[in-house]
């Protein structure tokens, strides 16, 4: 399909997306009515979309259609769900405890063994790797920093885990060798926070790149120069709003 023949709904969608992106980015100038409009629309549309999808997926597909097929299993879930709603009626609100007891009991029963296995046992298993490996030349200590399984990395990992755990161990005073260990733990934590922050910056910049890429795409003739027109409208609106605020004699 040529660019000139884009369907109306695609072009309309591009205009809405461009407008809302510019409205949200207008917050970088300062809080303003355009930003608030975009923010409220985002919340409202997300909730509305979720409600519609839950209605069709859960109620229609998983409950109503199954009941029509003669499968009454979903009724168990429906009854438990309805019991939660009794919270809104004080006289029978005690019934909601049955539902919550089921949810907590089921959730704990399912989650605890799996969490212990995945988050604790498997991780401990990986933390206590052998330092030396048996090769053709006998025992050797791997010194390759790039290999996660090398002996030198195993030592770094072990020192990191022990020192960070010790930093959060408050039953003994952190003095002497204890202070050295706790400080080592702080350094490991700082490096971890730095790595996490670096990744977060990268992630946020990726989002900005994504929006800019869309804005560049929608600035073409096929989309009716949506970006350029809406950028002009946004800037003029902000200027008009700023002028109105100043004429009123103060900030909003």
């Amino acid at each position: 399909m040529s660019e000139a023949m884009l369907p109306t709904e695609v072009v309309l969608g591009a205009w809405v997306a461009t407008g809302l992106t510019l409205f949200i980015y207008s917050f970088l100038y300062k809080d303003n009515p355009l930003f608030k409009l975009g923010e409220h629309l985002y919340v409202g549309v997300s909730i509305g979309y979720s409600v519609v999808l839950v209605w069709y997926t859960v109620f229609k597909r998983l409950v109503w259609e199954e009941l029509n097929r003669g499968n009454y299993e979903p009724l168990v879930g429906v009854v438990i769900g309805v019991l939660i709603l009794t919270q809104f009626f004080p006289k029978v609100s005690w019934l909601s405890r049955i539902a919550f007891a089921f949810i907590v009991g089921f959730g704990s029963g399912v989650s605890i063994p799996r969490a212990v296995s995945s988050y604790i046992l498997k991780q401990i298993e990986d933390t206590v790797n052998p330092l030396l490996t048996m090769g053709a030349d006998g025992l050797s200590l791997g010194l390759d920093l790039a290999s996660p399984q090398s002996g030198v990395n195993t030592i770094i990992l072990l020192v990191g885990v022990v020192s960070v755990l010790f930093y959060f161990f408050f039953s003994v005073e952190h003095t002497g060798p204890g202070m050295v260990t706790a400080r080592t733990g702080i350094y490991f934590l700082m490096i971890a926070f730095g790595a996490a922050f670096g990744y977060t910056v990268m992630s946020r910049m990726s989002l900005l790149i994504g929006r800019f890429r869309d804005l560049i795409t929608f600035s073409g003739a096929a989309y009716g120069y949506a970006t350029l027109v809406l950028l002009l409208i946004t800037v003029l609106s902000l200027a008009g709003w700023e002028l109105a605020v100043r004429l009123k004699g103060g900030e909003e």
Binding site: L28, Y29, S46, Y49, S50, L53, V54, T57, V58, R61, L62, E65, E66, F106, V110, S111, R114, A115, S117, S118, Y119, K122, Q123, E125, D126, P148, A192, A195, A196, Y199, T200, V201, M202, S203, M205, S206, L207, L208, I209, G210, R211, F212, R213, I216
Partner: protein, 278 residues
């Protein structure tokens, strides 16, 4: 020096926003093509898919919504192109209700581009409630968890799902995750219990928290953020949205590093200066 530093730390922060916007926009308009080095964790995902025999079942869970689209959509597109090129049977789904139509659109678009047919070569199951309970349900009976797909076609009897009863019949699974209901949940309640191999793709924000799972072998590979997507695009030889964004990513990082260094210089220059702006 102190006067200059004082003026600089009091600079209008909107100038910094403009600087970042410029550093993002210019490379997007005029890419300069920096080289992309493939990391071992991305290579591992690629090689596992590459080694799967034709007709293997590949489950791709779109565990994100439009707010993470710029990072995870390029990953999804690259993975789907690879899977379809290898003639794998693709099952798509999502745990994030607000990402359902986005995910369906991505699968349908890439499938159309690769000449694949819904129901025969791929299926998009859509969203179903339950989170971890849904994974357990899929591990027991896929057809009870999803009696019909997103386009309301009954899943039982679909050619693409032939021989697939539970998660145990999945050959490889990847969760593209923007939060908790993603890779970790799939590992804890899926792979650990039903014994299928899995990898992950994630936003940059949650990637550092997933490296312990990668190191311990709980996931066999990890595609992290836009950078990971660009590496995967390089591997499959189809440069797309991610590669196009990497120059802008590098330029913004360069600007941020310069700003961080300058701020530290100004901070030390003003140390002990009572009149320094806060």
């Amino acid at each position: 020096m102190k006067d200059f530093a004082r003026r600089m730390v009091a600079i209008d922060r909107r100038l910094i926003f403009l600087l970042i916007a410029g550093a993002t926009l210019l490379p997007l308009l005029n890419p300069f093509g920096l080289p992309i080095k493939v990391s071992p964790e991305v290579q591992a995902v690629y090689e596992y898919i590459e080694d799967l025999p034709e007709g293997s079942v590949f489950l791709l869970s779109f565990d994100f919504d439009p707010s993470s689209k710029p990072e995870l959509e390029p990953q999804a597109v690259a993975l789907l192109r690879h899977a379809f090129r290898k003639n794998l049977r693709v099952i798509g789904m999502t745990h994030w209700i607000t990402g359902t139509s986005l995910a369906d659109g991505v699968v349908a678009t890439v499938a159309a581009e690769m000449g694949k047919e819904r129901g025969k070569d791929y299926v998009f199951l859509g969203w179903a409630p339950g989170g971890y309970a849904l994974i357990i349900s899929m591990g027991q009976d896929l057809y009870k968890a999803f009696p019909s797909d997103y386009s309301k076609t009954p899943t039982r009897g679909m050619p693409v799902l032939e021989g697939v009863r539970t998660l145990r019949d999945v050959n490889y699974m990847i969760s593209l995750a923007a939060g908790g209901a993603g890779i970790e949940m799939w590992y804890v309640f899926g792979k650990d219990k039903y014994r299928f191999e899995m990898g992950g793709g994630s936003t940059g924000v949650i990637a550092p928290g997933l490296y312990p799972f990668l190191r311990s072998g709980q996931i066999n590979g990890l595609i992290g953020g836009l950078q990971g997507a660009a590496e995967y695009e390089t591997l499959i030889g189809r440069k797309g949205m991610a590669v196009a964004g990497m120059d802008a990513q590098s330029a913004t990082h360069f600007v941020i590093i310069i700003l961080v260094v300058l701020c530290n210089v100004f901070y030390f220059a003003l140390r002990g200066d009572k009149g320094r702006p806060r």
